[in-house]
């Protein structure tokens, strides 16, 4: 391990309390620690600041925590910024959802228009023999995709398998979810849905974006 790495490691281990520069000078008496520290500070790995009467060094992982612990004003500003960040995140989420919903509405309207013009869609096919066959074919591929993309506990986000199945069956996103809905309703003992994710089936006003085979 190089002197630079040793010094960084030493500072890291001191956690949010930091370590006095003078102590480092004693510990690394044989090294030119000023040069090493200057380099580390330039790279942003280490922070040096005055604490009491002495200069202390912190690793980048702990400097923020140190400031939060020691500087009440900083902590208040930090909390305020965090709160602002959360609020912005919420607003942008809401905006994204609203956009998504508007997009879905547009897609639905276009699809209805298309249906009126062409007279065929998954919904229309809902009661036909063709639809039953299509649903069964879709089921086989859907089950395969779920088992391929599922995490260790079996869950998979619809978003992860949608593109593949839409391409394979030449269906739109909207038709994909209509088929999934039919599938889950028909084989309700075989599939399990879970809330969350960015797209999926809406039940009780909640987007269910995860699925697994039981």
């Amino acid at each position: 391990m190089s002197a630079e790495e040793k010094l960084t490691q030493r500072i890291f281990l001191s956690g949010s309390t930091g370590v006095k520069k003078t102590d480092l000078r004693k510990e690394f008496a044989e090294e030119d620690i000023d040069a090493i520290l200057e380099k580390a500070v330039t790279q942003g790995d280490i922070y040096i600041d005055k604490k009491g009467t002495a200069y202390h060094c912190w690793h980048k992982e702990y400097y923020l925590q140190s400031l939060l612990n020691s500087d009440a004003k900083f902590r208040i500003i930090y909390d305020a910024i965090k709160s602002l960040e959360q609020s912005i995140n919420k607003t942008s989420d809401a905006l994204a959802k609203s956009l998504e919903s508007s997009t879905n509405d547009i897609i639905l309207s276009l699809s209805k228009l298309d249906k009126e013009n062409n007279g065929s869609s998954v919904v229309d096919k809902g009661l036909s023999a063709d639809f039953t066959t299509q649903l069964e074919q879709f089921k086989t591929d859907f089950d395969n995709s779920v088992s391929n993309y599922a995490n260790s506990i079996g869950w998979v986000e619809f978003g992860k398998i949608r593109n593949e199945l839409c391409t394979k069956h030449d269906i739109s996103n909207e038709e994909f979810y209509l088929l999934v809905e039919q599938l889950v309703n028909k084989y309700d003992k075989k599939y399990e849905l879970s809330t969350g994710g960015y797209e999926g089936i809406t039940i009780r006003g909640l987007v269910h974006g995860f699925v697994r085979c039981i």
């Binding site: 956690g15 949010s16 612990n69 260790s152 506990i153 869950w155 399990e192 969350g196 697994r212």
Partner: protein, 545 residues
């Protein structure tokens, strides 16, 4: 008195479970989950030797969707009497901690322990010090303020210990460090002191770093094992991918807290987010010692079992019969089948809570259709039976649904309903001419009518769930000698097919219930204006008129 002679409503009314509600745990999957956790506790307990070490740490995850009973299971485990002898549990609901930082997480961990536990550990510590004092260790005497005058007044150390335990005197902990040094770590001494002074749950003043916190939690676990011979369970409910939470979890897992089980309760969505947010923590969760899977927790069988367990548990007189169980199960099934929104235990409990209250008000002995119907109408006013054209109330739906389990009766009811529907259409001018086929049942045709364009249409109703498999078989059954321009076969067989003259119309359960409901209203002269429009829509939906 509530239905089934129950003294109280067995179903909880709160949207999320409380410790009291969680005493009851029903359902096969939930009980399997419970036994997996108990097995983990038992396994760890068996492996524990004299001293708690970092080898005695276990990680358990419970991952399932919202409203599936994870919190209920956690609280149930926390409150289990059979565990009170070998485990101490701190339940932490992360959704209640804001802002989320290491101090607030530590405070929540301390608050998660019960008052009973704090009393128990305090008692052990006080008697531990009493033993030292009895061995004439001066600093131990000091803790009890035991002096010359106490001896004169014939007060014993046991009296003093009791006074500390009943909060009559505050122990003098000024010399506790010198007394326990060598035998306990500094963190253990700090916790020891806090417990004695009665401010255990406020132990946050001199905590500066995450390392301090982990040290303190490890000290609590060590003392729990040393003095109570109990392992420590930390339950973190509503786990999410928030940075401070993940740092805390990672630190606890990495520290291998002695004689401790960390139980993380989260949703599949949070699990996925953790994977995106912090691979390192996700990797640790993947390697959990036990992954409790409540797969199938929202299936009908599981929901029925859980709901029945509430009544069984409260049925002190043991008068809840198997027939009554079957009756409730059938009603639950209808709600489950017809309302996708209610396919989770939380919603179902809410329905049965309200149904119990409604049945009690009306003085009925059981939860009847009316109680469920009133509940759905009052608590969920916007809900209708999916796809019902006639707007059938749930109570009627349940009744008709139940009576239609017999194919013969169903066929007869649907046949009469179709005749009534076309008669009504004839009365309204939607059908030009109607001819009933009295005495010609052998033909397989039930009705002939002329539509407004003059086309002569023959209708046959064929209800047969299992035997008919093909269109040819249907055609063979309709050995009609009747001449008509068009044949319509109304069936529930899900057989598809058509010729130039004949077409098969498949009707699902809802459609048949709609027909029977209309028929009943028609017979009883209860058709209103709104019903009239609905009836014509119903006729069109099955290609009549």
């Amino acid at each position: 008195m509530y239905p089934y002679d129950l003294q109280q409503n067995p179903y909880p009314s709160s949207p999320t479970p409380t410790i009291a509600d969680a005493k009851i745990l029903g359902g096969k999957r939930h009980n399997e989950g419970k036994f997996a956790v108990l097995s983990c506790i038992d396994d760890l307990y068996q492996k524990m030797t004299g001293i708690a070490t970092d080898k005695d740490f276990r990680l358990v995850t419970v991952i399932q969707d919202v409203g599936s009973g994870k919190t209920h299971l956690s609280l149930h485990i926390k409150g289990l009497k059979e565990l009170s002898g070998n485990a101490v549990t701190s339940y932490i609901d992360l959704s209640q901690i804001s802002p989320r930082d290491m101090n607030s997480l530590y405070r929540a961990t301390l608050s998660g322990f019960t008052g009973g536990y704090i009393k128990e550990i305090k008692e052990s510590l006080v008697y531990f010090l009493k033993d030292k004092a009895e061995r004439n260790i001066k600093t131990a005497n000091k803790v009890f303020h035991f002096g010359f005058f106490d001896s004169v007044r014939r007060k014993t150390l046991a009296n003093k210990a009791q006074e500390i335990l009943s909060d009559k005197i505050v122990p003098d902990c000024s010399a506790i460090h010198s007394l326990l040094r060598g035998e306990f770590s500094p963190n253990e001494i700090s916790i020891f002191k806090r417990i004695l002074e009665g401010n255990f749950q406020q132990d946050t003043h001199d905590i500066l770093t995450l390392e301090d916190i982990i040290g303190r939690i490890a000290a609590i676990a060590t003392l729990n094992w040393k003095f109570l011979r109990k392992i420590t369970i930390l339950q973190l409910d509503e786990c999410d991918s928030e940075k401070q939470t993940l740092d805390f979890i990672k630190a606890v897992v990495n520290a291998h807290l002695p004689s401790t089980i960390l139980m993380l309760v989260l949703t599949p969505s949070s699990y996925e987010e953790i994977q995106k947010e912090n691979v390192s923590v996700f990797d640790r969760l993947e390697k959990a010692n036990y992954k409790i899977d409540l797969a199938g927790s929202n299936t009908l069988e599981e929901i029925i079992e859980i709901l029945l367990e509430y009544i069984r548990h409260n049925d002190d007189k043991e008068i809840f019969t198997a027939a009554e169980e079957k009756d409730i199960a059938a009603k639950i099934k209808v709600i489950y089948d017809e309302f996708q929104d209610f396919r989770n235990i939380r919603s179902m409990i809410n329905i049965l809570y309200h149904s119990m209250e409604d049945a009690k008000k009306r003085g009925t002995k059981t939860i009847d259709e009316q109680a469920i119907d009133n509940t759905i109408r009052n608590a969920y006013p916007g809900l209708r039976i999916q796809g019902s054209i006639m707007g059938v109330p749930l109570s009627e739906f349940i009744k008709i649904h139940r009576s239609s389990s017999d194919d013969r009766r169903l066929e007869s009811d649907v046949r009469n309903a179709v005749i009534n529907l076309l008669s009504y259409a004839y009365e309204n001018g939607s059908v030009a001419r109607l001819e009933e086929i009295d005495g010609k049942h052998g033909s397989g045709i039930d009705l002939i009518y002329n539509d407004q364009t003059g086309t002569k249409i023959a209708v046959a109703v064929l209800i047969d769930k299992d035997r008919i498999k093909t269109f040819e078989q249907i055609s063979n059954r309709i050995k009609s000698t009747v001449t008509a321009d068009k044949f319509i076969i109304l069936t529930n067989t899900y057989v598809y097919g058509a010729t130039d003259k004949a077409s098969v119309v498949n009707m699902d359960n809802r459609k048949m219930v709609d027909l029977i409901y209309f028929s009943s209203k028609y017979r009883n002269h209860e058709i209103m204006l709104d019903d009239s429009q609905r009836a014509l829509m119903l006729a069109k939906s099955i290609k009549l008129c």
